[in-house]
Amino acid sequence: MQLVLDRLSFTYHSHSTDRWALRDLSLTIKSGDFWGIIGHSGSGKSTLLQLLAGLIQPSSGTLCLDGESLQSPKLRSKLFARIGIAFQYPEQQLFAPTVGEDIGFAARNAGLSATDCDQRVRQAMAKLNLDYQRYATRSPFELSGGEQRRVALAGILVLQPELLILDEPTAGLDPAGREHLMDVIHDLHSGGCSVVMASHSMEDIAKLANRVLVLVEGRPFLQGSPAEVFRHADELRTHNLGVPDSESFAAELRGLGLPLPPSLLTLNALADALAELLSEQKQSEKNI
């Protein structure tokens, strides 16, 4: 699938055009992409995610799915089957008496047979590391926050979307739960699902995304690979946005005279670079 945004704008104030939630955004989301969306609260992140999922319509500009404009309502309903969206705190939308019923809700609504539904529920649960035997008949409301979040996501995956949209998927989880969910999202993407993820965590974005969009006050500010985007550390900082911990630590070391390569965006990249640099150093010391 390919989702093309062309000079997309959106305003919540239909009568005045001076307050744009999103302005002039052009973007192409291809199959297999993992887009990380960065920006402060109010930068237009959530508006963008809702536009992508077809929940709101652009005020101007176009949004095309595989070459077809999504202006027509008929196409929009097709979109819903192909794109899954998880809002912030998706566990607040859990409602069914059991985990299995909650996850299967959308599949039943889509008219799948009971056997197919059950099959889909099992698959979705497996993808989110939820053991069917252990969880399917329990109430979602007696699970921990991290477990509830995974149940809610399974309820979206049950429709087998080609594109998964996630708004701050790890907010409010403890570090262990955060790490676990990040692994799950990584596996979903490796399994062929395209992902668009808004996050305040530069670490998560650097670790998972292969494309990054930075929004500032509704406008696209930077767009590119993580290495391209995080190269602009100073510009990001002027907008109170950071770079991943690894890169800001690396920048400090560079300032102290260590000749480290640019764009060390993950802990492992930094550790590898340091190990190489310092063992080289030891080698040359020996040679002297």
Binding site: H40, D174, H200, N240, F249, L278, Q281
Partner: protein, 297 residues
């Protein structure tokens, strides 16, 4: 008057009623004996003893479900212990007559700023608490503007709270507590729903309040917030697992991982470097690690 501790927990146990879908036998969590407290599956706190002195700044960390929030809710008598005793500025929370006194001494900030704002004008919202304490109007006006000033929100006194950012709303909520002139401020993951900038603002306010003498209890998932405190209490399975200065508590990455906690960046990097054959000592602070790496080059 002697300067007594602001918060005292004496072997406090707590069990949520109707946990496990109401299947839990009532008597299972009401006893104060060890057996009762340690076996109940719905037990959120097991014999927690803790003393927080006046003016202390403690951070409480722990995995989801470790009992952090339950502990916090005991400090202003939102929850009463199933066993043991909680004293807040000398008042026993189990005495039904003291709940209001305790709450005027110990104020609480929750995760979601939207659920804590009730008025349509910022200043009115801040005035709500002290108004209920029957503070005279002239004093009330002063308290409101002082409180808003302390959190840097005085310019927004006449604003509509719904137009504010999450971080600003959270600071208004803090002002609402400050206007009641409490001794203790309890914050339950105040930054969980905020962006980096919002969190930074809250952190600055909390530090300043503590510097001016306020006792602060900060419940958090963010390790960089926990290290601001002078003392860190780690909860695990309803018990206190660790209690000490940040440097002590964050000394062993394996223990932290077992407790479901995050590990500070410098220690994670040190681990990765050790795995690559570089002899880095643990625990290590960022400054020490930088110095060490430069000395090797």
């Amino acid at each position: 008057m002697s300067r007594e501790a602001d918060i005292v927990f004496e072997e406090v146990s707590y069990c949520y009623p109707h946990s496990e879908g109401g299947n839990l036998p009532e008597n299972r969590c009401q006893g104060t004996t060890n057996a009762a407290a340690s076996t109940g599956a719905g037990t959120a706190l097991s014999e927690v003893s803790l003393t927080v002195e006046r003016g202390e700044f403690i951070a409480v960390i722990g995995a989801n479900g470790s009992g952090k929030s339950t502990l916090a809710r005991h400090i202003n008598a939102l929850l009463l212990p199933s066993g043991g005793r909680v004293l807040v500025v000398g008042f026993d929370s189990s005495d039904p007559n003291t709940a209001f006194t305790i709450r005027s001494h110990a104020g609480m900030i929750f995760q979601n700023p939207n659920t804590q704002i009730i008025a349509s004008i910022v200043a009115d919202d801040v005035a709500f608490g002290p108004e209920n304490l029957n503070i005279e109007h002239s004093e009330l006006v002063g308290r409101v503007s002082d409180a808003l000033d302390q959190v840097g929100m005085l310019p927004f006194a006449e604003a509509d709270p719904s137009q504010l950012s999450g971080g600003q709303k959270q600071r208004v909520a803090i002002a609402g507590i400050l206007a009641m002139h409490p001794d203790v401020l309890v914050l339950d993951e105040p930054g969980a729903m905020l962006d980096v900038r919002g969190r930074r603002g809250i952190r600055r306010v909390v530090r300043e309040l503590n510097a001016s003498g306020m006792t602060v209890v900060l419940i958090t998932h963010f390790m960089e917030e926990a290290v601001l405190a002078k003392r860190v209490v780690v909860m695990d399975g309803g018990r206190i697992a660790l209690d000490g200065q940040p440097a002590e508590v964050f000394s062993d990455p394996d223990t932290l991982r077992q407790l479901g906690l995050g590990i500070p960046f410098s220690m994670r990097l040190a681990e990765a470097l050790i795995a690559r054959g570089l002899p880095v000592p643990q625990p290590i602070r960022p400054e020490e690690l930088k110095e060490l790496l430069c000395s090797w080059y």
